[in-house]
């Protein structure tokens, strides 16, 4: 049950027409599937069709062509009544949050009310989430009279209070203020732990995608250019667009602990221990940009370089002025970006042994 395709899109296209003329082809030939319990991230620049794709998933828009399957059932062209039934399996947090012209408590209760829940149950759920988002004191205020940040929190609560199976999050952190980013982060982390809940998140921020995604779909101009795990997408992008858009990243998962005397974090990734200046503990993902890694033939003379590993050249990709090297350090592979001139100067060939060095401040922890 856990590995089954909860959502399956088959050749979804969306064209917006105006007076029978083709106006805008927003999505073409989108096929993807999302497993139960996974966090699936759609990444792409503005205008690539992310919002339309999520609106189609949330049954707020019909695709021009193609089919949507929910647990094997075709939910593309349902009757109005059935559409509502399936829509209630989704929570949809919009990019720009909107609230109803009523009190904060009524706003949060709305989705539960339309589902016909008991009054007592609604009240206790609303109370619980109001406390969680820290708006308990404003429960009876009109939601529209609140500040932008508070409205964002109400909109988040309106959707997270619902007993949904799938959470569609459309560029949610793009407009959030800092405090709400943390709040949303807590909520997403909690959802990710619940294997019954599925998240489909859209973002234009590669780092956000790395942080949450189990799998990423790269959307470019209405087409999917690649679907894979973040590790693969960021280290071996399939096309130029993906490469340019996501930027290259070395991504590793490991276990972090803080070193007492220095206050730095030591992150164990298989047999390597990477030092980061970010204080963090527990399981983390770390990113190191390829251009932050320096190659040397000998071990660094400067002992202050905490991250220095011996490795072997596994691959050389010639990209013109820039070369990409894949350096294997035991089980881990690092992507290193180097100029052609340095490559020649260092006389780097396949299988040559060398050292990779990077600063603790260049290790980003997510």
């Amino acid at each position: 049950m856990n590995n089954m395709k909860l959502i399956n899109l088959q050749k979804i296209s969306k064209t917006f027409y105006k007076e029978d003329k083709v106006e805008l082809k927003v999505l073409s030939d989108i096929s993807l599937s999302v497993k139960k319990g996974e966090c699936f991230t759609i990444i792409g620049p503005n205008g690539s069709g992310k919002t339309t794709l999520l609106r189609i998933l949330g049954l707020l828009e019909n695709p021009t062509e193609g089919n949507i399957y929910f647990a094997g059932k075709d939910i593309t062209n349902l009757s109005r009544k059935e559409t509502v039934t399936f829509r209630r399996k989704f929570s949809f947090v919009r990019q720009k949050p909107l609230v109803l012209n009523t009190s904060v408590a009524n706003n949060i209760a709305y989705g539960l009310k339309v589902r016909g829940l008991e009054r007592e149950e609604i009240l206790s759920k609303v109370k619980e989430i109001l406390e969680f988002i820290g708006l308990k004191g404003l429960a009876n205020k009109n939601a529209r009279s609140l500040s932008g940040g508070e409205i964002q929190r109400v909109a988040i609560a309106m959707n997270f209070v619902l007993p949904s199976e799938i959470y569609l999050l459309d560029e949610v952190s793009a407009n959030l203020d800092l405090r709400n980013v943390t709040l949303l982060d807590d909520l997403i982390t909690k959802l990710k732990q619940d294997k019954e809940k599925t998240i489909i998140l859209s973002t234009h921020d590669p780092l956000e995608a790395i942080k949450y995604a189990d799998r990423i779909a790269v959307l470019n101009n209405g087409k999917i250019s690649q679907i894979n795990t973040p590790e693969i997408i960021f280290t071996s992008p399939k096309d130029e667009f993906t490469a340019q858009f996501v930027g290259f990243e070395n991504i590793f998962s490991g276990l972090a602990e803080i070193e007492q005397e220095t206050g730095l974090s030591l992150i164990k990734i298989n047999d390597l221990t990477i030092t980061s200046s970010t204080q963090i503990e527990g399981s983390v993902k770390v990113c190191i940009r390829p251009e932050s890694i320096i190659i040397s033939k000998d071990p660094p003379a400067n002992v202050s370089t905490r991250n220095s590993f011996e490795g072997k050249i596994d691959q050389i990709r010639d990209l013109g002025n820039i070369c990409h090297l894949i350096v294997a350090c035991n089980f881990e592979k690092f992507l290193v970006s180097i100029t052609k001139a340095s490559l020649e100067k260092l006389n780097i060939k396949l299988n040559s042994a060398l050292y990779i060095n990077f600063k603790a401040t260049d290790v980003k922890c997510l």
């Binding site: 109005r80 509502v84 619902l162």
Partner: protein
């Protein structure tokens, strides 16, 4: 003339403070007729207006133009049409409704209907489509969505209803033709003022005119109050 005017005002004052029975009959009848017409028009117009508002279809432009035309439909012509339909030789003559309050309600119903449809349609059209989608995505049924849209645009809708009621109350042509201005039966503010003025009974006419103005003032005040609230 100045003397007549002063006399008229004195008489009007006496009629109002002594609760003259005929004046109060006329006031209640007017409010009952226009109120019923507006009420019936409202419950008919809300579903129609909110159905037309968010939808896009081929005939929409034509329908919109038609509604706008009927919003300013001349009451006298409406009176004429209803008269022809209800008169003994007309298609609905057998109902015997001519010169009854029912006939007046029918005429004013058709005058109020396009006003309320038009304002409801415009109000619902102006609701942010993103808000509609938010309500839908929270799991509302069609009916629940409809009710939220009405609530969202209630200020404009109430304004439309108040305007329609005010117009019905001060309209004279239609009620005159289909009601016949029968004393104690179908005589309203406006028809009474016309008659009393012609007969030179200025006291009564002024008294009724004052009451009508006061009612209009209260309606407008309520309207302004509603529209500036919560802003």
């Amino acid at each position: 003339m100045a003397d007549e005017l002063v006399q008229g005002f004195i008489q009007a004052f006496i009629l109002i403070v002594t609760f003259d029975q005929e004046i109060w009959e006329i006031i209640f009848l007017s409010i009952r007729v226009s109120g019923s017409a507006t009420f019936l028009a409202t419950i008919t117009a809300l579903p129609i207006g909110s159905y037309l508002g968010p939808r896009e279809f081929r005939a929409k432009k034509t329908i919109s133009n038609l509604i706008n035309t009927f919003m300013g439909f001349p009451p006298v012509v409406m009176g004429l049409i209803i008269f022809l339909l209800l008169s003994r030789s007309g298609p609905l003559g057998s109902a015997g409704l001519l010169y009854t309050t029912t006939a007046m309600i029918i005429a004013q119903f058709f005058l109020a209907l396009p006003i309320i449809i038009g304002t409801t349609k415009a109000a619902i059209e102006s609701v942010d489509p993103a808000l509609k989608e938010t309500v839908q995505s929270l799991g509302s049924t069609e009916g629940q969505l409809w009710w939220e849209l009405i609530k969202e645009s209630k200020k404009s809708i109430i304004a439309g209803i108040v305007i329609a009621f005010g117009q019905a109350l001060s309209e004279v042509g239609a009620v005159m033709i289909v009601g016949g201005n029968i004393r104690w039966h179908t005589r309203t503010f406006t028809t009474a003022i016309v008659l009393q003025t012609r007969m030179g009974e200025f006291g009564m006419a002024i008294a009724l005119g004052l009451v009508l103005i006061i009612i209009t003032f209260i309606l407008n005040y309520t309207l302004t109050h509603l529209q500036t609230k919560n802003e």
